[in-house]
């Protein structure tokens, strides 16, 4: 008999985030779900790990039927603790999200949600990160459950190879339906920071990170930014190999 599918769910907005709850509900249709999520918001934590301090692990609600663990570290710490201390075996799938806000273009490098999914594929486990463009305090996930379910279904049916994770970004469509799903590449772009300078009551300066996104290629139609702007769900397959292979030949010609 086939063993029940084991699914790890995590996020970077913390265990109380409504996006996590929605993703767990969807995941439960596909197998046994274990949640290991950060105790606090970990937005912008990228692929960070906690090396200077030890981690704590606790059960937020022992009464609940849900297998949920809370970890004081980063999303990547959550995955590592899950794989090594919590799960009975290697999971069949890792789901991360649903992130409060999109993680397209260069945000793939800042996002803790995507960090967790990348940690999955480093460990050769099929992994998907979900992010949603709704920035309101209480996002309404009802209209996007179906598409998330469809994507997980396809990943399961097609036995997604664990060599790359899917970075799924879902647009907020105010009028009309989602246009569909597009497989895209990451948009080349950057955040142009402004750093709002303020002075504290003691006369010392401090800086808040603020900024706006600059798309280096606004005309390109095969990018995640384009897809989102045009009401498509953007799926970018991302890998865990940072090598710029195209640069190797040129560099090999340098004589040191």
């Amino acid at each position: 008999m086939r063993e029940e599918r084991l699914i790890l769910v995590t996020n970077d907005d913390g265990y109380k985030a409504s996006g996590l709850n929605v993703l767990v509900e969807i995941a439960e249709r596909f197998g046994r779900v274990v949640v290991v999520a950060p105790s606090e918001g970990q937005s912008g934590m990228s692929h960070a790990i906690t090396v200077k301090y030890p981690l704590r692990l606790f059960r937020p609600d022992r009464e609940s039927n849900r297998e949920m663990y809370v970890c004081t570290g980063t999303p990547v710490d959550c995955v590592k603790l899950a794989l090594n201390r919590i799960l009975p075996r290697k999971p069949d799938l890792i789901l991360s999200g649903i992130n409060h806000g999109v993680n397209s273009s260069a945000s793939v490098f800042y996002s803790g949600t995507i960090g967790a999914a990348r940690e999955g594929i480093i460990n050769r486990i099929p992994s998907i990160a979900f992010s949603y463009m709704d920035y309101s305090l209480q996002p309404d996930y009802s209209s996007i459950k179906e598409v998330i379910c469809a994507i997980i279904q396809k990943v399961v049916e097609n036995n997604l190879v664990p060599c790359y994770a899917l970075n799924v970004n879902i647009p907020l469509v105010k009028e009309g339906p989602l246009k569909g799903i597009k497989i895209c590449r990451q948009t080349q772009g950057c955040w142009q920071e402004e750093f709002e300078k303020r002075t504290d009551p003691h006369g010392f300066d401090y800086y808040w990170l603020t900024g706006k996104f600059v798309n280096y290629e606004p005309e390109a139609e095969d990018t995640d930014e384009w897809a989102l702007k045009n009401n498509y769900v953007a799926i970018v397959p991302i890998h865990a190999d940072a090598t710029a292979y195209e640069a190797m030949k040129e560099l090999q010609q340098w004589t040191f």
Copy 2:
């Protein structure tokens, strides 16, 4: 007249680290150096940015001739603050390191040293991360200054395109000389965590991240791990595009 070359130096071990000092000394041979480094050790901070708290910036030693700024955030925060609040113009080069310990294989994703260099190329600035395999409390950098200098010289001579950063790892060679410099790809591998469980004086458990590196491809001779093991300096060009292009065609055949 050609403007003097402007070089930003940062690291993840913090502004007091001896590796930073050595890199600054070397960098000063190539132009005007401005240092913006973290106030504390930021190992394992990856490409993280500080969004929940504001950042502070201070001058550690106003008497010194060195243009050094210290930032309370991550290495990527340091680069962002440097570019937006400190430097008079976009720098010609970003140098990050010298990291205390190597950042080969999957460590490219955990390393704050490499995060800073990746932030450089996201902003289209040629960037190099240096890491050294000496794990002793007081590493002796004297034997590696020459090779670091040679690498910077080549980057400058060849006008390294700012589309990829160089991840330079230098082995600790105990007997005999360095064998040379190899342009490599990132080794496929992962850290197998063990998480040492301890109990605090109050009876609560906590976990220390520990682990050992598992090389998925120990026989491959074109990897950074192989180069380091065989006494070569390993240079892996890394990009800021996470797209797994090889996966796109297959995914485009999925019907949702």
